[in-house]
Symmetry: C5
Subunit: 97 residues, 5 copies
């Protein structure tokens, strides 16, 4: 999995049926210092993540074990909203900064 | 999944039978500002995407859950045509600019 | 999938039994302008590709859906020999230049 | 698999149920000289790894074969704590330096 | 699959049970000119590869189709020891230089 920040949303009326009802969020990958890593993806939200939140993203077949995505054409899903990130630099409260 | 732009097509008469009838589109990966990321792939279209359109691409085993690709040797498929991309920069209508 | 050029061959007498009889071709990844991307892999040929040919490569579990590779330890296989590559730059006949 | 160092921890109260009870550790990828490779991920610990330890990380569907993670939305798990790393440069005892 | 060179070994007494008895070799990825690509991984040996040898590595679920690794937490395994590498530059005997 990796840390990411929700930075937007994609709307597509023409899409695979299995994506209907899924929130397609644009995320940018973060390192442990929560700095963007210039890598953006689209992930389906399964935990109610909103714009600007720091999240946990899982990829590949794991992404379809989340929520009701088992038959969906998903290869990345948001599976957690981060409260704190703890490293040698200390504990950062990212959910309620 | 990731954002991409359809930039061309590949024709191959000698190919795995499971690719027969599939449109093999050349796509270039985009970031959230819809800028190309110097990474091109071949993806099978499953939603009627055309040249120049901004699309959603899924990879790996997920790509074979789309359309009729279950038994196909596909590892990337186009599963959506993007209408709008919404980020802090505003809403961009990419389908009807 | 991605575009690649066959640039050589690997011979290994000591190998997993499931690779016996498979042609292990060295391929270099190409972009849409057919320029090498400094990324080489080994892929099993399933369509009779020869040295110098432009091919379509599939990766991961998809590669074992090709030919008779279902039980093979393969993670990349050549599943097409490209005739033409069509982009905004025009149509390039790569098979019979 | 790859070598990594545990450099922190993520706490997320809002997360996929299958992650409940899992320690979400932040890891940074190392090369054979144990130098960080500027690539951080989140992996679930399955062997009792602690902060600062050098570990073995496995990715993709393999990560769910570890411990009790079979149904978890995990795509990376820590499956070993490294004692020594042996290369041409000699044997480095990383667990008890 | 990719070409790699065995450059060392990892020992871990605390590890997932499924890794017991497996040789955890450190490999560095090579291009077609057998030049290291600054990418090291850990792979399980299934063909008796030794330090310094040029090998074929397979990744992902394919790696568990090798030897007796079906239930192992492996995501990369060595499935061949290279005898020769043949490119436009000629045939290089890597096993008995």
């Amino acid at each position: 999995m990796y840390l990411a920040k929700v930075i937007g949303r994609v709307v597509a009326t023409t899409k695979d049926m299995s994506l209907s009802g899924s929130k397609l969020l644009i995320i940018t990958r973060l390192n442990e210092r929560l700095e963007p890593q210039d890598r953006t993806e689209i992930a389906v939200d399964t935990v109610g993540a909103g714009n600007g939140e720091t999240v946990i993203v899982t990829s590949g077949s794991a992404s379809r074990l989340a929520g009701t995505l088992q038959k969906s054409v998903v290869d990345a899903s948001i599976v957690g909203i981060v409260d704190t990130v703890e490293t040698d630099g200390g504990v950062r409260d990212v959910r309620h900064p």
